[in-house]
Subunit: 129 residues, 2 copies
DNA sequence: CTAGTTGCAAAGAGTTTGCATGGCG
DNA sequence: CGCCATGCAAACTCTTTGCAACTAG
């Protein structure tokens, strides 16, 4: 799996990287890559592969039943908690030290080992307030 | 909307309340209520209504594409952050004071207004460690 | 009685899969 | 050249909806 580097795979990854602060639906991606000749099945297959890799992750937004995808393989993401604005959909990275403190507090207060890579804090960002 | 109290609606709410610490799929619910003669459409319609009410919420779990539902209208839920174990799927309530402190810290550190009702912290609970 | 609610079955939306073709290495 | 990946279309799964029958108030 993931042995060849095809133009579809590259186009997908590039697009996800370029929009790492946004949450994207398959439709968003498909629309953006249709001009590059990337089929829907290629998108689905590659998204699944990338997700098992941990290169991207699946996110939900507020009251929708929709699934959003987001790149999370960048350096900024490593060990940082994600803050997702439910208004604009943008993602922010919590400061590394603050993340550590928070995770530590949760462990101490609730005896709960926080999975930083899988947790998203929802709320309103400073721009949208 | 939600004007009458039907036996289907009551059965659904009772079931959700009785399993407020679990995350349930529509299949789980349907299976459990089939003996009470609750149809799938009734479940879907009532879940939607309850969700807009804020009585229940939609949750995702780890690597699945599945949608889970969970009762969140109980007193325990009000103002408390939810901790969801990605191993057993159980939900825990973070202490009220700890929740407040955490929300306050996030606001101070990242200028981000945490939506406590919509945020779920994922990780491993003490039982599963 | 009257309007909200249900069940059924059909329609829709989103995702996955089989198979032949095409392209990376 | 061999094997993985792609595209297409069909198959599937999950959810929504129209409509007639039912029922709570």
């Amino acid at each position: 799996m993931q042995k060849y580097s095809t133009k579809q795979r590259r186009a997908l990854l590039d697009y996800l990287k370029d929009h790492a602060d946004e949450t994207l639906t398959v439709d968003d991606i498909s629309r953006a890559l249709s001009s590059d000749g990337v089929s829907r099945s290629a998108i689905y297959r590659n998204l699944s592969a990338l997700e098992s890799n941990g290169a991207i992750k699946r996110v939900t937004r507020n009251g929708t039943k929709k699934i959003f995808y987001q790149f999370s393989g960048c350096d900024d993401c490593h060990g940082h908690l994600h803050l997702s604005c439910t208004k604009c959909g943008k993602t922010f990275h919590m400061d590394l030290a603050a993340t550590e403190t928070l995770a530590h507090d949760v462990l101490r207060e609730s005896d709960f080992e926080l999975d930083k890579g899988n947790t998203v804090l929802y709320g309103i960002c400073s721009d949208c307030k």
